[in-house]
């Protein structure tokens, strides 16, 4: 048997660890543990000189096992494995002790923290003796990417990848791509027209030879893992043959049934067969099966008669398409917070209390009022109030700052000023104008004579107490700078509603097996250093499905995910988990419990020399360990997490120091 020669390295992490844990004492303690030949402490083990200590000791002292006690292994285990490998050892002959996140940062008592650090190091030393060298394997990477969501984020990511001549499957739930950005009129702070900058991109996506676009489709099932995800896409029946439809719109005209248009935020109606908006991609009609009188009641077919191209196909059925991709980009966007739950704001009770997106449609030249800001009764408002932080920065709804509302409120203030002669009042708590050109935009609006009132609106009422208030909506708030309660009578109130996670985010998370934060948005792998990756390898997130953000940030994120996906494709292979299950055939009874319990179908019972035993398909095994727990005989073990290794750690932790 080889002699165990362990090297132990205690990191100070500046004062992050050394400020609480007595690192010298821990190193001294580790030095006298069985099998330890060298024990050092160093200011920053992750630095080059720190890593060199390990490499040198391997070469000079014949160290053949390494323990580093520093930050979380989720941070630097790969770093030190690499150092061990560079030193000439197998990278798995390494064990990490977490004495920062799990020790110095959570305990301020120096003695207790030092003792805990000693215990953790002792356990790591005991465990590392039992580590075996493991071989890292590679598997081919399928050079294609699934992008979920056809808003600006999804489109940008898809275009970047496709322009690199790699295959993209872009799946959009709605009949057209474009997302929320297609509903916007102008964009802050430059006030350039949203449509003008978006439609060329939409058109590119629609015609790109490397993009396979599936609109009116949903991802139904995802299996497999990085490099080889198998995806089932449900292409919902739109009852229109996409290849025949020319997008003339005759059918919608003839359709006798009208329903509120989602695109127009319910401010206008659309046909049951419809093209959501003029620039829709693909420019084909879709029958809304839920409302179609023929599909529901068996009578009508007016559209069929109107369609010269003969594109209507009532026999169409949902179709399941299966594709294989190497990586997935999630860009599913956001929902607008429904302010009706804040009863004192009177949304849906008062005609002229609008949400941001509704106002957006009013200002749009192609919108229901042809770009005129009008009250329900057709008058032009003489005064407009903008209420900030509706549903955000409020623990009763969403605790987070919704990030874009201050800026879009300024944009609305400008549009109201530009398109009407109205007085504009902004009710804000704090103005957050942090982006490029944003503070300048705020200055510009101040110059334009917008009234800024610092205070969270308490209620909106039509209960007039003065003649001036009669027939108006009265916005009640404290002006916190004056220290006075004020009542501002206005004609129109715009509620700057928060961006919130999509209603189906939970379900999407389940399908993709990615986590969500407490606020309901998708969780990034590391908030600062890995912001577009998820903890699941090969799945990336871009745009508002991760948190509220504006268009520039969304686009930047989308490009980042594209770069991540392209870099995986250009590498061509993925590293497979080395710490996987293995079977000792001399012990196995072939009972099949492992086969039953495995969610990845890695084990199967096969005949070996006539005897039925379990065999592990290494490409499928993820190393979750369920088979080892269920195995009654002890034939199955998980490499690197063997019973022997974990018990060594448990035993060491229960021993006296």
């Amino acid at each position: 048997m080889e002699e165990i020669r362990t090297g132990v390295y205690i990191c100070h992490c500046g004062l992050n660890i050394a400020g609480v844990v007595d690192v010298e004492e821990v190193a001294k303690y580790a030095g006298q543990l069985p099998g330890v030949v060298v024990s050092r402490e160093y200011r920053y083990m992750c630095s080059d000189p720190g890593q060199d200590l390990i490499k040198d000791d391997i070469k000079e002292l014949g160290v053949n096992r390494v323990v580093v006690a520093s930050c979380s292994p989720r941070m630097h285990e790969p770093t030190f494995r690499k150092a061990v490998e560079d030193g000439g050892l197998n990278p798995y002959l390494y064990e990490h002790a977490n004495i920062r996140e799990h020790c110095s940062w959570v305990h301020d008592d120096k003695e207790l923290a030092t003792n805990k650090a000693k215990d953790l190091v002792r356990a790591a030393v005991r465990r590392v003796c039992r580590h075996e060298p493991l071989v890292v394997r590679e598997a081919p990477f399928t050079p294609s990417v699934l992008v979920i969501g056809g808003g600006i984020a999804g489109m940008q990511a898809a275009l970047d990848i496709a322009n690199g001549h790699q295959k993209v499957y872009l799946v959009e739930r709605d009949p057209s791509i474009g997302g929320h950005m297609a509903q916007l009129d102008r964009t802050f702070p430059t006030l350039d027209c949203s449509e003008c900058i978006l439609t060329p991109k939409m058109s590119d996506v629609g015609h790109h030879p490397f993009i396979e676009l599936h609109t009116y489709s949903e991802v139904e099932e995802v299996s497999g893992s990085i490099g080889s995800f198998k995806v089932k896409i449900r292409k919902k029946a739109r009852y229109v043959d996409e290849s025949k439809c020319v997008g003339c719109g005759d059918c919608e005209e003839k359709c006798p049934w009208k329903v509120p248009s989602e695109y127009e935020m319910g401010l206008a109606k659309r046909g049951v067969i419809y093209i959501p908006f003029a620039q829709a991609i693909p420019n084909v009609a879709t029958i809304d099966g839920e409302h179609c009188v023929y599909l529901q009641k068996g009578k009508c077919r007016a559209c069929e008669k109107a369609c010269e191209a003969g594109a209507i196909d009532f026999e169409q059925k949902d179709e399941i398409i299966e594709v294989e991709v190497g990586a997935i980009i999630v860009a599913t966007g956001y929902d607008q917070f429904d302010p009706a739950v804040i009863s004192q704001y009177g949304y849906r009770r008062f005609d002229n209390v609008l949400t941001g997106l509704e106002f957006e449609r009013l200002t749009c030249a192609a919108g229901p009022t042809e770009g005129k800001i009008l009250l329900k009764d057709g008058r032009e408002p003489e005064s407009v109030a903008l209420v900030h932080c509706v549903g955000s920065r409020d623990q009763n709804y969403h605790e987070y700052c919704s990030r874009v509302c201050c800026m879009y409120a300024l944009k609305y203030a400008h549009l109201a000023k530009e398109l009407t002669k109205a007085d504009v009042y902004q009710f804000y708590i704090d103005m957050r104008c942090f982006g490029e050109g944003y503070e300048e935009f705020y200055n510009r609006l101040s110059e334009e004579g917008v009234n800024f009132i610092r205070g969270k609106v308490a209620k909106i009422t039509d209960d007039a107490v003065t003649d001036e208030e009669k027939g108006k909506l009265v916005v009640v708030s404290e002006d916190t700078l004056l220290g006075k309660l004020i009542r501002v009578p206005v004609d129109m109130v715009i509620l700057c509603s928060a961006l919130q996670p999509r209603a189906d985010a939970e379900n999407v998370g389940k399908i993709l097996n990615i986590n969500r934060r407490a606020d309901g948005f998708f969780l990034e792998r590391h908030v600062k250093l890995d912001p577009v990756a998820t903890p699941t390898d090969g799945i990336f997130i871009a745009g508002c499905c991760e948190a509220p953000r504006d268009i520039p940030d969304t686009v930047a994120q989308a490009e980042a995910t594209a770069a991540k996906a392209l870099s995986l494709i250009s590498r061509g292979t993925v590293t497979l988990e080395a710490a996987i299950s293995t079977v000792d055939e001399s012990i196995c009874h072939g009972c099949g419990r492992c086969e039953e319990v495995c969610p990845f179908s890695a084990p199967s019972i096969v005949s070996k020399n006539g005897v039925m035993v379990s065999e592990i398909n290494e490409a499928l095994c993820k190393g979750c360990g369920a088979c080892a727990v269920i195995c009654p005989t002890g034939a199955v073990t998980i490499k690197h997490f063997t019973q022997d290794e974990i018990l060594a750690q448990v035993d060491a932790l229960t021993e006296a120091r």
Partner: protein, 142 residues
């Protein structure tokens, strides 16, 4: 039971609860130093023997914590872990061990606050019920 400091071993899944404990650290949340974490890849990887051995070693409480049912990196690890814990609890019950000594939690990666709270609660609870009945065994052996 003055001065009694319970000893806890926590088996935490790499993807959720271990990350939650990291987050508790990054956010500098203070919690009692009575816990030692053993990292496992999945709560479904926790063998009942690990828990029994920890009790043999004289710990006062064991925590098994991992992803929520639908968050599992390996699809259904938490469900398997629950089934294992149910059986194990039955045995520990026959042994006369207080139910509180084996705690099963689901703590997502974002729930650093919850992790710190679970540890605090567990330490308080164990302080109330006192040392593990198996502690005397290790003391008798020593």
């Amino acid at each position: 039971m003055a001065g009694f400091e319970p000893q806890i071993i926590a088996f935490c899944c790499n993807w959720c609860t271990y990350a939650a404990a990291d987050l508790a650290g990054t956010s500098r949340m203070q919690y009692p130093a009575n816990v030692r974490i053993v990292r496992v890849m999945c709560s479904g990887m926790v063998n009942p023997l690990y828990v029994l051995k920890a009790f043999e070693g004289g710990v006062d409480g064991v925590l098994i914590a991992g992803c929520h049912l639908t968050d599992c990196h390996y699809i259904d690890g938490p469900t398997k872990c629950d089934a294992m814990v149910d059986k194990l609890r039955e045995m520990l019950h026959v042994l006369g061990l207080e139910d509180e000594r084996l705690r099963r939690e689901m703590v997502a990666a974002s729930e650093g606050v919850l992790f710190a709270r679970v540890i605090k609660e567990m330490v308080e609870q164990l302080k109330k019920i006192g040392p593990s009945p198996f502690k005397a065994r290790t003391e008798a052996l020593a």
